[in-house]
Symmetry: C2
């Protein structure tokens, strides 16, 4: 795998957190790593320069969305995804597995592949492991993902077992289908919340020697304790020297908890999505800038934050932009939340490197008021609807 | 008027176009000048730094909108409008006259002032010339406007005559109400499309020796020839040494025609509004980036344009962002259109300075396909609706 490798730099003393670095054809990125979500070849509201300035050097894009619009052939003709979106940093593309099973109407799966309808115009399409690789090679991301079968929270053991078997079969087909050797192909461990299936899946895929392993099928409605128990179980069966990627997880508290369990890579639309709803991160938890309490606050939202938004504008101005539904609001809030996550990743990494991660974690969680389960649930519902509009 | 003055630098040879410069407490700006519209204390989608980078050094904000939201007292408490919106360039605030008569529901006028309802929540409010000055002094713009009574296209001579008389009376009250002397107060000439009333209004206000004169009540549905005939008539009665500001006019072709008739200042939401609809300026006219013809265009929309959008992205990418309704689309299109207008103003000024404006105008109009009347009309209708949402 030319140009792609993972280097483990430090294991946390007495814990499973770790710091490392990922080499890609588009630069080296440090881990633990957060990938902002650029589903449709754009991290919503931001230019490539702004993403870089936030200290974020790898973004995620979705094969499913780009396949439907503008079409893989268009992006290929335009010189590939990096050039199309004018992003010279690293890119990871998701295969579309998760989107097929959660977003596309009328998805039918068999061992060969998936028939699905477009969420945009209802047209019928066909996806296989081989096509997922072909499309991702045409897009040209630095890291690409196998096509997997995702299950829902609540699915029976038998159904999940079948999906795991199919995911393994597809992972092997993805490996065989590759034509390019400059992209790293990561496997995805499935198995729902069943420890036995997670173990089976991790062990099976570990033997196939992928350069990286993702944990899929979590953060899909299960209670948080179950998410992290499953992460722990899965990580324990994954190889030590390969990067571990917890897909779709990205609230500040969940990132800290994920790192504590040995995760290296995260992605989530949450920081940018809640930003556009006016929910901004502070070290004490999320706060809603639409709240009247901010209407006359001359200070920035987070006094010691060095993001562009906080350096430049008062909380009162940000409040005004949100109340007035001004487009600049969504952009300034996105910058703040991604800057917060970027700072968080730096702090986490620093703590792992100097052996103080456990203290950092205790301190962070003692101050940070997590969003409660019912809010999380109702936001998740909103999100499921919103995704039809593209994120 | 401390810190505010107008200097006429050059009159076009054999024409009425002119080039000058306007000194304000927040820097010197060159004329002919275009003001981007920042109705709600933000030029939609852009940061202050981006506006500056476009070569635009003065923006317009609206007293009517800011009075209703966030409230004049909030902005005053936050240190004034410049500080609130983090803009250290010059600002012109409209008094709200135009908005009262075109946007507020249930507007009732008498000699004393105007009773109106908020377009946001229906609450009842009261505006007078004295309050318009008080509010604009609290906002702290560099140039402020008198409260005027606007008439609609089609209003009778008698009705317009009465509005003109009231506008004159109010202009004098505005002059007397001033407490600050660091802001330039501009008068507004009314008179609809009646040459006799325009002459009367221009002559009357000229005697009151304002530092600048605006032409109001145009571009409100009348045919274009009538707009420019009225501009010509009005300008002929205005003092030579004072800046002339044609309110609410700002398509590329109308700016060129306005300059040709002696106008120094323009403002309009048109360049930014049509940008958000995907209509982008080229030297051949507007084109719609949503058009399928752009879906595989690897070149930027305007090949030799040096704006950020054209320097960075292909037309195909911009097309994709618009089709996907991505927020970045509106921002990139806004940058392009304002950059186009900024370049246009520079070209116009250069032509006036070197005596080639007449040739420039002929050349520009020979290449630029203006938007036809029916498109203009239907866009105006859309705009009237859209304004209730804030522009």
């Amino acid at each position: 795998m030319d140009g792609n490798s993972f280097r483990l730099i430090k294991n946390d003393t007495g814990g499973t957190a770790r710091a490392g670095e990922l080499q890609t054809p588009h630069g080296t990125v440090t881990t633990p790593l957060f990938l902002p979500v650029g589903t449709q070849a754009t991290v919503k509201t931001l230019t490539p320069e702004e993403i870089k300035a936030l200290g974020l050097n790898m973004v995620l894009a979705n094969t499913y969305h780009l396949y439907l619009r503008p079409g893989i052939d268009v992006i290929k003709e335009m010189g590939g995804l990096h050039r199309f979106m004018a992003w010279d940093g690293a890119i990871l593309t998701d295969s579309g597995g998760y989107q097929l099973f959660s977003l596309a109407p009328l998805c039918r799966v068999n061992n060969e592949g998936v028939t699905f309808r477009s969420h945009i115009d209802g047209s019928e399409h066909w996806m296989t492991p081989e096509l997922a690789i072909q499309y991702q090679e045409a897009l040209g991301a630095d890291i690409i993902m196998v096509l997997d079968e995702c299950t829902a929270y609540g699915d029976s053991f038998k159904k999940v077992q079948q999906a795991v078997a199919r995911t393994h079969h597809w992972a092997e087909r993805c490996q065989r289908a590759r034509m390019r050797n400059d992209q790293a192909l990561y496997a995805i461990v499935q198995g729902g919340v069943y420890p036995e299936l997670r173990k089976q899946s991790a062990e099976y895929l570990a033997k196939l020697d992928f350069p990286g392993y993702a944990i899929g099928g979590l953060s899909v409605g299960e209670p948080k304790e179950m998410t992290f128990a499953t992460v722990e179980e899965t990580v324990s069966w994954l190889p030590e020297n390969k990067p571990r990627y917890l897909m779709g997880v990205g609230s500040p508290e969940d990132i800290v908890e994920g790192v504590a369990r040995g995760i290296d890579i995260f992605d989530s639309a949450l920081p940018t999505r809640v930003a556009r709803n006016g929910a901004l991160f502070t070290w004490q938890g999320r706060c809603n800038i639409r709240n009247a309490a901010f209407s006359r606050m001359e200070l920035p939202l987070v006094a010691d934050c060095d993001c562009y938004t906080c350096r430049t504008f008062s909380a009162a101005y940000l409040h005004h932009l949100f109340k007035s539904e001004e487009l600049l609001a969504y952009r300034l809030a996105t910058i703040h939340n991604l800057s917060f996550i970027s700072q968080l990743m730096q702090k986490i990494r620093g703590a792992v490197l100097d052996g103080s991660f456990s203290a950092f974690r205790d301190d962070f969680l003692a101050n940070y008021r997590p969003t409660d389960e019912s809010t999380r649930f109702s936001q998740k519902q909103k999100w499921l609807k919103a995704r039809n509009r593209g994120e």
